[in-house]
Symmetry: C2
Subunit: 309 residues, 2 copies
Amino acid sequence: MKYVFGVDIGGTTVKMGLLDETGSCLDKWEIPTRKENGGENILPDVAKAIEEKLNEKGINKADVIGVGTGVPGPVDSQGVVHKAVNLGWGTFNVDEKMTELTGLKAKTGNDANVAALGELWKGGGQGYSDIVMVTLGTGVGGGIIIGGKIVDGSAGAGGEIGHIHIKDDEKIACGCGNYGCLEQYTSATGISRTAKEMFEKWSGSTVLTKDDLSAKAVFDGVKAGDELCINVAKEFGETLGKGLALIACVVNPEAFVIGGGVSKAGEVLLKYIEPSFDKYVFHGAKNAKMVLATLGNDAGMYGAARLVM
Amino acid sequence: MKYVFGVDIGGTTVKMGLLDETGSCLDKWEIPTRKENGGENILPDVAKAIEEKLNEKGINKADVIGVGTGVPGPVDSQGVVHKAVNLGWGTFNVDEKMTELTGLKAKTGNDANVAALGELWKGGGQGYSDIVMVTLGTGVGGGIIIGGKIVDGSAGAGGEIGHIHIKDDEKIACGCGNYGCLEQYTSATGISRTAKEMFEKWSGSTVLTKDDLSAKAVFDGVKAGDELCINVAKEFGETLGKGLALIACVVNPEAFVIGGGVSKAGEVLLKYIEPSFDKYVFHGAKNAKMVLATLGNDAGMYGAARLVM
């Protein structure tokens, strides 16, 4: 049997997995992300955890295919990360550093792209080779896979779909500095903002309260048939469907895989995205399916392992 | 020396080229596109022209790498065209048919995608591996190349960037049936429409006349410093720059290669696109250069040849 490590480095914890070559997860665990001193301990900590796991399981390094890693920042095709601000990292070659520390083959990618690869391999995107993963969390992330391969982009910004310009009349700046980005309306934060705006003007009854206008509260309300919540969901679906239609005209994927915290709402979410997608998409690209991600927080770990195989 | 044929099938003529393996064009010529009877003569005519050229030049088939073909319709990665209405074609495998007719290896792609590959190989995109080609003609076509390979899309609609939804308040339908597509504003036809709308409201002096509100007249006027023409160009650049910024958030190319009839205006065109692109693009994808296509109508012939190599 051959083994592979999948490592997903986040701002708080590093998620680690030991998989076999078929992608079965044999073990998974977490270690803290030590960000002090420019994050200089992060990779040595990962290397140490790998050594310990090999000893614990009695696995020979010759039987390990390699270590795949996802990091929260742009990574080019050579494995060079170009700043990962959440880790305190500047620019350096993660592949080389990881191989130096572990003696294993290493391959590194952007965390959102790697999560997309994970969903393609073992999650909601199984059976496809061209997908766009859409992660609806605090922000909106994305990962594009064409022919089974990640589209990194020439500066590591492939799949940065949260920053597609979607509205012209926005007065509030996005975190990126631009105005009217897709994530300002379709992230958990964006849904909550829409809910707040609609709640303040709403005179009818609703299950929403000013103390909880979260995306979760909105979709719970949708399931309960709440009219205000349904209006918020329609606005969300109109905007996201339009955004995905634009993307479909560029890469014409087989499927959009919808993940992130907001996707916990389940199938109901797709019901609000699909009509808008169908309305705005070019007829030749209408074939794209909408599916939910299934791996949750493990997607990055699976995709990172796949990356090095 | 090895040889390769590049064939670009258009609605009126088929452009053919005989190239050597380095991409030098040894000969190029045209034959008429016979569209009658569902276009059944088109490929036999091409095969006949190839045989004649081989005889004329005394080239042995063993020295021919193959025949690459661009067709005006969606083509999947197996060489199956899914309707090419301008040729009268339904759905069939062009690669197989061409090999049957010529005894040569064959590879077929969509004409816009193949033109992009041509510009990457021998035109404005030389030196890059990730480009988006934007063809501003009667409509707006596109071709996406990532890592030197065409992004066909899962249904052959990769790079259909002319049908990106860019304006919400459009009352006139695009040829595709949707409202507010990029090509409604940034094709030669779209520029002319904007010129007409602005001309009718214009009270100042202008070089434009109601008999010639073409895209060429507009950009000639821009070069002469005509204020109305400059306004039209600004509107064009604002819309196209915004569209290209969206695309950059998806695939983050190294360069946009601007071609088609409108691009004959030259470098002045880029001056109107770039400020808008810079305004709307995500900072991580700002690296994309804007360059002009250089191969004109030969791009498809070059790219088709490259496709089979």
